[in-house]
Symmetry: C2
Subunit: 233 residues, 2 copies
């Protein structure tokens, strides 16, 4: 006769699932505001502390957004929101998994670049070119890295698949790039990187998907191989 659920897991875990379910079932729309912490806690029959833990969890997952003094809202649930956590994988990975991540990036980036070659608009291509020249015009590693990131980000965006772009963004997170690229470029890979970027841009300008795919794969593959070698030692 026990009316109260099966009691599986912690109350916080259950609260997380219930809120997720509300969103999945459409009872909570993107951007919509939730009841207050106190209301929600009372409604699910748990304490405010536990409810806050659930909300915090969903916040770091990019599902909810808490605004101090205002309320709790469902995010737009766009790819960028939900895949932000992908960055922690890159940040906390080391050794062989870094190679695996680069392999995934190579696969996705080469496809994205190929798609971009077929779909990119002239103004976006100009934007890509801007970052390319800016990247080649400075010696500051920080600035180079920033334009490098932007260069690939524009291309990923041009591919027209936001989800893919968001994943690639995570795989190129600032700290990840900094950790791997640093060593790579210290070995005088600047000129090679420059040439590879030029090749990618050329393929995009020529609207040649296959060339773009090959150039992007080679670009990431170079780093991948370098890292593989370095780990072998």
């Amino acid at each position: 006769m026990d009316e109260t659920a099966p009691q599986k897991g912690t109350v916080t875990q259950r609260a997380i699932e219930q809120i997720k379910a509300m969103i999945a079932e459409g009872r909570l729309e993107p951007g919509q505001r939730l009841p207050t912490e106190r209301d929600l806690a009372a409604r699910l029959g748990i304490s405010r502390s536990s409810m806050r833990e659930a909300i915090r969890a969903l916040t770091v997952l990019g599902v909810l957004e808490a605004r101090h003094g205002s309320g709790i809202y469902v995010t737009q649930l766009e790819a960028g929101d939900l895949l932000e956590t992908f960055g922690v994988v890159a940040d906390l990975s080391r050794g062989p998994r870094l190679v695996e991540l680069l392999e995934v990036r190579r696969i996705l980036e080469s496809t994205a670049t190929a798609l971009a070659a077929a779909r990119i608009t002239p103004d976006r291509l100009a934007e890509v070119e801007k970052h390319l020249t800016a990247m080649n015009a400075t010696d500051d590693p920080e600035e180079i890295l920033a334009h490098d990131l932007a260069f690939h980000r524009e291309i990923a965006a041009a591919a027209g698949n936001d989800t893919m772009a968001a994943i690639l963004e995570g795989l190129s997170s600032r700290t990840f790039r900094a950790r791997v690229w640093r060593g790579y470029q210290e070995e005088g890979a600047f000129t090679r990187t420059r040439r590879e970027h030029a090749a990618i841009h050329r393929a995009l300008a020529a609207r040649d998907p296959e060339a773009a795919r090959a150039a992007a794969a080679a670009h990431v593959g170079e780093v991948e191989e370098w890292l593989r070698d370095r780990l072998a030692r």
Copy 2:
């Protein structure tokens, strides 16, 4: 003269970053036990409630694991641990983003299947075959789905890239498959699916990466196209 940090963001957010940093810097090893909640809170100068929120957040991210009565531990930080949250993306996506997710899956799955064709061991191939026959031997949709998932999971594992396998696992999460596959198979796609699975298995048995890639791409692409059509209406 303010000795206390820049105060950016909430204290909980800062605690999350600090613990993440400890792990990234190697001061916390995989599997290692952390100080108690009370100690950690005191050490960072915050309340236990806030510390608990930070721990809960890192728990859902698959970075930490709390064991009631025992303590808090760093997970093994393997791909599977950290990418578990990828499933929520699939669970909370709808409309056009489902197509995008399928596109990502098609790209990764086709590559994974190609790699598997080159690397799969005989006993793992036998395992794949087992799920194939079991899938064809029953009419229960639930059982078919389970073997379908296992079929692709074995192949992804054989590709030798745990990270890729973990991502694919998220893209094939039970609820995701259930939502999309349901509609797809209701339209009598069983026989077609069966043929496609057979083609994939044949390519694996023949150790033919290109055939495997094509078969896998076609397999996912079929569903992708169906979903695209369905959304267009």
